[in-house]
Symmetry: C2
């Protein structure tokens, strides 16, 4: 008797993750096909703008030298003697300190993460916010995703458990909610007003859920936004905290883009931890951060952490138990967290290079985001919020009746049709808005702002869009 | 309203993982206490024999140089030029080949794992077994545990889904089955006969489960055994495959200790993949392997893979979807898998050192296991199978009525009392047999054979045991 799809956990079938979905798989097929001569494809490379993966081939954002020097020394400590002069003194010193604490990075660490690194995370949070942070409340993770999945698996206690998520959202949330058989409770962000979050809308969503027999357990907030790039004002954040207090919700704050700020003067980042502390709010809060984003962009090593605030020792012990079954987060991810929260300081040997490298990446991303938004906004039927944060733009595209009908015929969402034709024609892979959720009758796509050579890149998007409009009308 | 334990997913409360449970937490407390002067503890160090973690502090099994040189070059490719002569030519060549394929290890890879590394895994399996293996059927993972959890989460489709597990078992299985609300179906291994697996016992367990309304979905086999160290004969393996055929079970083969063989002539390892291929059996098989065990012992980088046999493309696509939500396994774990399946060959520059290092570790482990088993067997009330494989011994201990009564009074399992007193007196942390499961009225503990200085180490175990017997009688 063969194993059939029908015999599997039905919740698995409901999981969707468009960032690495059908289009991304098609893009990989094209990438393979490009290696063969006379492949007949109208482009010479694939640009994977579907995923915030800055160091991937073709984008090639350089790694921060400091991060890699430390990682190499942790792998092979003898290098400090074997290659004298290659490693700056502060890197050698830090590697020694971490080696004394950890021993070999080939060993499992404490399941919650190396204690010394958790201390450094707590210091980072304390300096960022001006409020205390305790290493006991911090869990190092294999990227933020692992932490989010774990928390959702614990909070969803029955099929009527609901999780409030922004729409549009990063599809990890809908995927994990489906996997653990919970109910997503959408609250809609306002695309006509810089993707603002409306506390009234969130409050209304809670009430509607209750009326429908769903029990809201947690509020997910992504700040800076993904896919929107929006930043919350402190006023809105405080109102959201009050809503959590009122309705007994856990606040899950996805803050992985906290250092991707393109206009920090007008659009600064404030952590939820800071505001919960300042208000002395009792709201249970879990805040997520990652080494995959920011300017480090070290996605491949799977590093991250979450901090628990107002979570009881009993529940912390349960979280510990659950992470211990998976043994520990990858050590190189943990080492990367250490560099994230403890970058070189002025006066240290690595500082000048680190400063120059990180400044360059910050500036390039801000510039590219601005240029792309400006040019996309000039296209017929395209409106694009000029993201003040994160790594993405999320342009709204108006699609003609003809395009909608054509998509329907092909059994696709209209923006999936748009994205598919974009891929087929230009080799650029984006994610259709339907993968993130959007208001009925609206269409978008998410595109990363990571591709160098922005002129050529946007040129391709423009040329395609104009052709699409010619084919299908506006 | 604070977050309460009662409001959480009740399945989480049922999860137990003794390897990192209460005793391991106590051991960490002692480790911290040891750093203070006049701590009053009767030992000067903690020996964490509860977990197969060869490179941990205090055990300090050295990493394989080849593995670490490659890892360092992948972190910081410029080292090939910056430190000329430090890296053997074959390591430099391999790093270049992997860099060409992967680009930066700071990028997310293919969610299923780097294609070239999956090809190498397939070649390894093919050479090991003499039957074809396809990279399409291989998923790289963050250690074997991540793969096991994923498969169980997919196979458990309702609370009546059952998973056959050996007793004693590695507690990942009971933990994951509890997490995903399935039912464990125990089949008992025979401690009086070298921890043999009896196919009749497995068949009887399936029938009993059916009679009780449980639907068996999969058979877990751990070979070499954990905690038992036993190796299955091919005859028994074939009978187990036939049982899976007969009852429509998926075979989950945990083969992470496949290279930890202390008596390979009399107790060789045969993979289930080889036998399923040889028999042309239609049984759906998932085989797990890891970089954490063997002589590499690179636990901290979280590397592993599973191979699917007789699993349909539709189900492979579902597995891909699920792993894509977590983005990708850690790149340094994937690189370690490459070194696991493609060690240096005779004639390559790294070969002599690699051979000497791996031979030394193999020999030390086999010798230590043998000495420990011999000495433990001489203790009153202790019977210990001399494990032919894996990293552990699982001695049976006879406990007196007085000891059982004392444990009951303390609300503990009797072998947990024994293990607790062992820790309190010697600083040696083991896992009580109750954490793995055992026949009613039998008591055991699992101890790793990783501690150097075996004479001193076993001496402590002996002294403690004799004192325990004096206190409580036999």
């Amino acid at each position: 008797m063969p194993l059939t799809v029908e015999s599997l956990n039905p919740a698995i079938l409901n999981v969707e993750y468009a960032v690495r979905g059908e289009l991304a798989i098609k893009a990989e097929e094209y990438r393979t096909k490009l290696k063969t001569p006379n492949n007949g494809l109208p482009f010479d490379r694939i640009i994977s703008s579907n995923i915030g993966n800055p160091q991937q081939k073709g984008l090639d954002q350089p790694p921060i030298t400091f991060v890699r020097q430390l990682a190499a020394l942790m792998e092979y400590p003898a290098l400090a003697e074997l290659a004298p002069g290659v490693f700056p003194a502060d890197v050698v010193k830090r590697a020694k300190q971490l080696q004394e604490e950890i021993g070999s990075i080939g060993a499992y660490s404490h399941s919650q993460g190396v204690p010394l690194i958790r201390e450094h995370v707590a210091q980072f949070i304390q300096e960022r916010d001006g409020f205390p942070s305790d290493p006991k409340n911090i869990f190092l993770t294999a990227g933020a995703s692992a932490g989010v999945s774990l928390l959702l698996s614990m909070l969803i206690s029955s099929p009527s458990s609901g999780i409030l998520i922004p729409i549009p959202q990063y599809p990890l949330y809908t995927a994990a909610i489906a996997q653990f058989s919970g109910k997503p409770i959408p609250y809609y962000l306002d695309g006509s007003a810089d993707w603002n979050t409306s506390p009234e809308e969130v409050d209304a969503a809670v009430k509607k859920a209750h009326a429908e027999g769903t029990h809201p357990k947690a509020l997910v907030v992504i700040n800076p936004g993904n896919p929107t790039g929006a930043l919350l004002s402190e006023d809105v954040q405080i109102e959201l905290i009050r809503i959590c207090e009122k309705h007994g919700l856990v606040l899950l704050a996805d803050e992985v883009y906290q250092s991707n700020l393109h206009k920090p003067a007008s659009h600064p980042f404030t952590s939820f931890k800071k505001l919960v502390s300042k208000l002395q709010s009792p709201v249970p809060l879990v805040s997520f951060h990652s080494t995959s984003k920011g300017v480090m962009g070290e996605c491949g090593r799977r590093g991250g952490y979450f901090e628990c605030t107002n979570i009881s020792p009993e529940i912390l012990a349960l979280i510990y138990k659950m992470v211990s079954v998976g043994l520990c987060p990858p050590l190189q991810g943990q080492i990367a967290v250490d560099t994230l929260v403890r970058p070189p300081k002025k006066g240290e040997a690595s500082y000048p290079k680190w400063k120059q490298e990180t400044d360059t990446i910050h500036a390039a991303l801000a510039e590219r985001t601005n240029v792309m938004a400006g040019r996309l906004n000039k296209l017929p039927g395209v409106e694009c919020v000029n993201s003040p944060g994160a790594l993405y733009l999320f342009p709204r595209i108006t699609l003609s009746e003809k395009a909608v009908a054509e998509a329907k015929k092909a059994g696709k969402q209209p923006d999936a049709l748009y994205a598919r034709e974009l891929l087929d024609e230009t080799g650029i892979c984006v994610v259709p808005g339907s993968g993130f959720g959007q208001k009925e009758g609206e269409w978008h796509y998410r595109v990363t702002c990571l591709c160098p050579g922005v002129d050529d890149y946007v040129g391709k998007l423009e040329k395609f869009h104009n052709g699409f409009v010619q084919r299908y009308g506006v």
